[in-house]
């Protein structure tokens, strides 16, 4: 019993040190800093994107692609897109011709179609060991994606500097240790200046539900294709700028 208590205490202290170290470097802007609204999405971390509705999956995927494209514009890095092969008929397959719109270079992408959830997680972990952007489509809840699995992904990412976008369904109550957790969905676009009935720039409603760095908020984001960047859509936005609040460690480190 004593041994277990001591181990837990040690683990807690290690995490605390790791957090302090991360914070010290937070002030230095990274070359490929990418931001989702006013929130910077750190390297070497798992970012969890949850779709509020199963039909919002393509929209959520699009936001992840937009972020990947924005990061690639600053520094070319491979994009590893992992999904389950059998979802193809239900959800479609990645379409190379549409990636350019979000500034993603199709030739930098590796498309992995894994057999099952286990293979997806294995591939994700392998990919996370590489300095890359990893998109993991994990729309269907699965017991394998548990606290240990997400923590393993997080550890791999921390060592390599990879950014992992874990795409899940909001109904998936599975726990996670992701650095940030978002609830995302599409938002109606503003009208196109040339065609009043046509589609405007794609928009997302983005709610930051949880962040290890503190802060939360809600924004409407818009993809600026010409500038290859994600901007806040002014007319609708009523976001709350998150302070880099120094919350107590007990609250931020452990997620049930």
């Amino acid at each position: 019993m004593h041994a277990i208590a001591r181990r837990n205490e040690l683990a807690r202290l290690r995490r605390r040190i790791a957090d302090i170290e991360k914070r010290e470097f937070a002030g230095i802007p990274e070359a490929d800093d990418i931001a989702c609204g006013p929130v910077s999405l750190a390297r070497g971390a798992v970012h969890e994107f949850r779709a509020g509705d199963y039909r919002d999956a393509p929209s959520v995927l699009g936001l992840a692609l937009a972020l990947a494209g924005a990061a690639s514009a600053k520094r070319a890095q491979p994009i590893i897109w992992i999904g389950q092969a059998r979802d193809a008929f239900q959800e479609g397959v990645p379409y190379g011709c549409g990636l350019n719109f979000f500034g993603v270079h199709a030739e930098l992408c590796i498309f992995v179609h894994a057999r099952d959830a286990k293979a997806v997680l294995w591939a994700a972990e392998e990919a996370a060991r590489h300095d890359a952007i990893v998109l993991i489509e994990f729309w269907k809840p699965h017991p394998l994606l548990d606290l240990t699995a997400t923590r393993r992904l997080q550890l791999c990412a921390e060592q390599s500097g990879a950014r992992l976008f874990l795409l899940r369904d909001a109904r998936d109550e599975g726990p996670s240790t992701a650095r940030t957790r978002w609830r995302l969905g599409p938002a109606p676009s503003a009208e196109d200046s040339l065609d009043e009935r046509g589609l405007g720039r794609p928009r997302w409603s983005a709610a930051l539900e949880k962040s290890r760095d503190g802060g939360h908020g809600w924004w409407v984001l818009e993809w600026d294709h010409a500038e290859r960047r994600l901007v806040e859509a002014a007319p609708h936005s009523r976001g709350v700028v998150p302070a880099m609040a120094d919350r107590s460690f007990e609250e931020t480190t452990e997620v049930a």
Binding site: P94, G98, C109, V112, R129, P188, L199
Partner: protein
């Protein structure tokens, strides 16, 4: 070497294999018991049955025979990577340079004999400098091993049939009194060629070593390979990995010396009972680093952990490099951006290899583009481990979805005007109200004239009231190709 059917110890009846030859069922092969009773090859089966009614006769299956003989040849690759099957029942093993592993030619021969006897095969074998001489000695000889350069003397007294000649040629030689190979040695070449065609001199030259005889191996022989013969058979995955590590190291040294890397590695595990397990892994770029090779095999070995059957264990392992390409030696200096990028590319290549080997090459892909307007053909996937073919086709410039359904799904759509965008549609039993739409973008099937030619499609990008975006199309030109157009959902935008 002559293979005969395994004899069944339990049955007392003699066993023969028969085939249809010279307008009768004739015996093709016999077991030891049938041999004792005086049966012989070519004997009519009816005659044999008359002598021994209990005779068990089986019909020959040339295909099955060839297959099982090939399996045997693969099992005998333990002696050398170069094993060549000339005809079913005959095979050559090129043991040049392999004697060291087994401790000499005598040791190889006795190991082979013992192994074949254990597996209930009867055989004849001989070792000589040339394949021709070895064949002659195995078939007709009294010595099993002709020493270095001794083939000329060793086969001199053998009959001319030992030269692997067509029967009519050896018959003609006999009729002229030329009965042994030695008699041919001092004959003038030109008349021999004139009377017996070039085949005779060619065969003689091959036997004596004055003419080269390339052996075509059952499995292409690697130029670089490393192997270990184990004193004690091993069975566990961990044990295999521990033997594999020094093999990968040896192979790396050879490849470095040859300034080469390989895109395919093959691990052959030779079982005590003559079965061979072969594992292959591929690399997207020429590789040789032992750590990389080990990781590739590590995944493969973990995959077979549950269902691999080691039998009585593996007694020999061989790691071979295939698809060998030049790979220079790189000197890496610190703070060198060039080498840093190279290191990253190397790491990415390793990642591709690991993923491809574990999940299957066809599941780890990159995308390429074709010069076509047909959306489902415009982009296609190829395995990342296949070398990229330089293509200057860039993707379609017009707006395209990020995900495409493998097959467009029919939807119920309601349009305000017949040739306009839909205002409502129903897909997978859910209704959607369209708030915005762009289109049409007309895409005509360019395979006109072929059977696959489909009707023209008018594509619309639509946004629902919630902001979800879909790629829909109407099939057929309204009023032209059809009066009742069908609608499909083909892709998803973000």
């Amino acid at each position: 070497m002559k293979k005969q059917q395994k004899s069944l110890e339990e049955t007392a009846a003699p066993i023969v294999i028969h085939e249809n030859a010279k307008s009768a069922l004739r015996i093709r092969a016999i077991d030891a018991r049938a041999g004792k009773l005086g049966f012989y090859q070519g004997q009519a089966l009816a005659d044999a049955r008359a002598i021994e009614p209990k005779l068990m006769a089986f019909e020959a299956d040339a295909q099955e025979e060839a297959q099982s003989f090939r399996r045997l040849a693969v099992a005998l690759m333990r002696y050398s990577p170069v094993v060549s099957v000339q005809a079913t029942g005959e095979l050559f093993i090129d043991i040049t340079g392999c004697q060291r592993l087994f401790g000499g030619e005598e040791a190889i021969l006795s190991d082979l004999k013992e192994r074949m006897a254990r597996a209930s095969y009867s055989m004849c074998a001989a070792i000589a400098d040339t394949a021709g001489a070895a064949w002659a000695l195995a078939r007709f000889g009294c010595v099993e091993i002709a020493g270095d350069g001794a083939q000329r003397r060793a086969i001199a007294s053998l009959p001319v049939e030992a030269l692997r000649l067509p029967p009519e040629l050896s018959d003609r030689l006999r009729r002229l009194g030329l009965k042994t190979i030695g008699q041919l040695y001092d004959m003038p070449r030109r008349p021999l060629t004139a009377r017996f065609t070039k085949a005779l001199l060619s065969r003689l030259g091959q036997a004596l070593g004055t003419e080269a005889e390339p052996l075509v191996p059952v499995i292409p022989a690697p130029r670089y390979y490393a192997e270990r013969k184990l004193a004690e058979p091993i069975a566990t995955i961990e044990a295999i990995k521990s033997v594999l590590a020094p093999l990968a190291h040896d192979l790396n040294e050879q490849l470095v010396r040859g300034a080469a890397g390989a895109r395919r590695f093959d691990l052959a595990l030779f079982r005590v009972d003559n079965e061979v397990t072969r594992l292959g892994v591929g690399a997207s770029a020429p590789a040789r680093a032992p750590a990389h090779v080990m990781r590739l095999f590590s995944n493969r070995l973990d995959d077979i952990r549950d269902d691999h059957d080691a039998g009585f264990g593996y007694e020999q392992l061989r790691l071979s490099a295939f698809d060998v390409r030049p790979l220079g030696v790189r000197q890496r200096t610190a703070f060198d951006l060039q080498s840093d990028r190279e290191a990253q590319e190397e790491a990415l290549a390793e990642l591709k290899d690991r993923l491809s080997n574990r999940l299957g090459a066809k599941h780890v892909r990159r995308v390429s583009f074709r010069n076509t307007h047909l959306p489902e053909r415009a982009a296609f996937f190829t395995p990342v481990v296949t070398p990229a073919s330089p293509s200057n086709v860039s993707p379609e410039e017009r707006p395209r979805p990020i995900k495409l359904l493998p097959r467009p799904e029919e939807i119920e759509a309601l349009a305000e005007v017949p040739d306009g965008p839909p205002i409502r549609f129903k897909w997978r039993r859910v209704a959607y109200a369209v708030a915005r739409a762009n289109g049409p973008e007309r895409i005509a099937d360019e395979w006109q004239g072929k059977e696959t030619a489909g009707p023209t499609r008018d594509y619309y990008r639509v946004e629902t009231q919630e902001g979800r975006r879909y790629w829909l199309f109407r099939e057929g030109l309204y009023g032209g190709e059809t009066t009742n157009p069908r609608w499909f959902l083909h892709g998803f935008f973000a």
